[in-house]
Symmetry: C2
Subunit: 190 residues, 2 copies
């Protein structure tokens, strides 16, 4: 895409930054308290490098997030049913939601950081558009009227901060959360 040629040191630094950021974000009190300067230091590069490569804070978060979420995306895009294409909407919708929730449970800090966005709403991030598209298509195959809106509504139910709230404030175990979500999703598509 935008990658014409990559100089060796540039590529190396890029990886170092991604790794350092991933680790810093995951550790301690989430990405909120992690400054760009810290990331730069941990990666052993200068602040300038970091900003040139990733544009701004959100760019960095998005990059780390992309790397982490590739697997789920692939599973949904071309994995076996019911998560992948091929399954009936009634089964695929809950499967997709569950996969997304499971991912967010495993990557709470990162997801939170992405949705906090900092600059824009989570809805401006490209990855949301993708999930919405997939969800809407799956919903079209069900009795739900207005798949577009329903897709938004269902995805909203797994917003990172809600997940975080349920897990922390309400002390709900991940397993239980997934069951409850599944029941809710079933009700919606049923």
């Amino acid at each position: 895409m935008t990658e014409r040629k990559a100089r060796a040191d540039a590529a190396r630094n890029r990886e170092a930054v991604l790794a350092a950021a991933d680790e810093l974000f995951a550790s301690g009190g989430g990405p909120r308290g992690v400054s760009m300067e810290q990331v730069a230091a941990a990666a052993g590069v200068g602040k300038g490098t970091l900003f040139r490569r990733f544009g701004d804070r959100n760019g960095l978060i998005r990059a780390v997030f992309s790397a982490r979420s590739e697997a789920v995306r692939a599973a949904v895009e071309s994995g076996p049913p019911p998560l992948g294409p091929g399954a009936a909407g009634r089964e695929r919708v809950p499967a997709i939601l569950d996969a997304l929730l499971a991912f967010k449970l495993d990557n709470r800090h990162l997801s939170l950081a992405l949705e906090e966005a900092g600059a824009g709403s989570p809805y401006e991030v490209e990855h949301y558009g993708w999930w919405h598209g997939v969800m809407r298509d799956a919903l079209r195959d069900t009795a739900v009227p207005d798949a577009g809106f329903a897709a938004h509504a269902l995805l909203a139910a797994v917003r990172a901060d809600l997940v975080e709230h349920l897990a922390s404030a309400e002390e709900m175990p991940g397993r239980e959360m997934r069951e409850r979500l599944a029941a809710y999703a079933a009700k919606v598509v049923g």
Copy 2:
């Protein structure tokens, strides 16, 4: 409550700040670009005053929000059905959601500011707990299993940033949004 005695100038300033903040938040590009210093200047008070009265940025936003949302809260808490108590869950749930959505449409900037929170998630704010409680109670009166989770899920469908996205990026008129939400809510409680 915490108000034992209020000195005349203190009360005057409090009002001035609330008014100035409300106006500043509403105008221009939302509350994101409004600094505390600007609010102080517009209200004709010093920064110190502002922070002493409201604690921090979020405190100010919460205060402005509370003032604005009193009406809806009252209508839900003790107004006539179907919004107020007394109506069957199947009717009250959509009514509450619609009222909330209508309010957010009318106070987009403010709602956005509140949910952006800045410090904590929207779920830590007391007003969310209240809405969730009302919603859960209304849902208990329907066939929906797990009213607690469903309440979270339904409220998530009217998150300020989603509303903003639908209104701006998808250019969905308020009226249409409310219809779609009503249809979705009906499906959930039906």
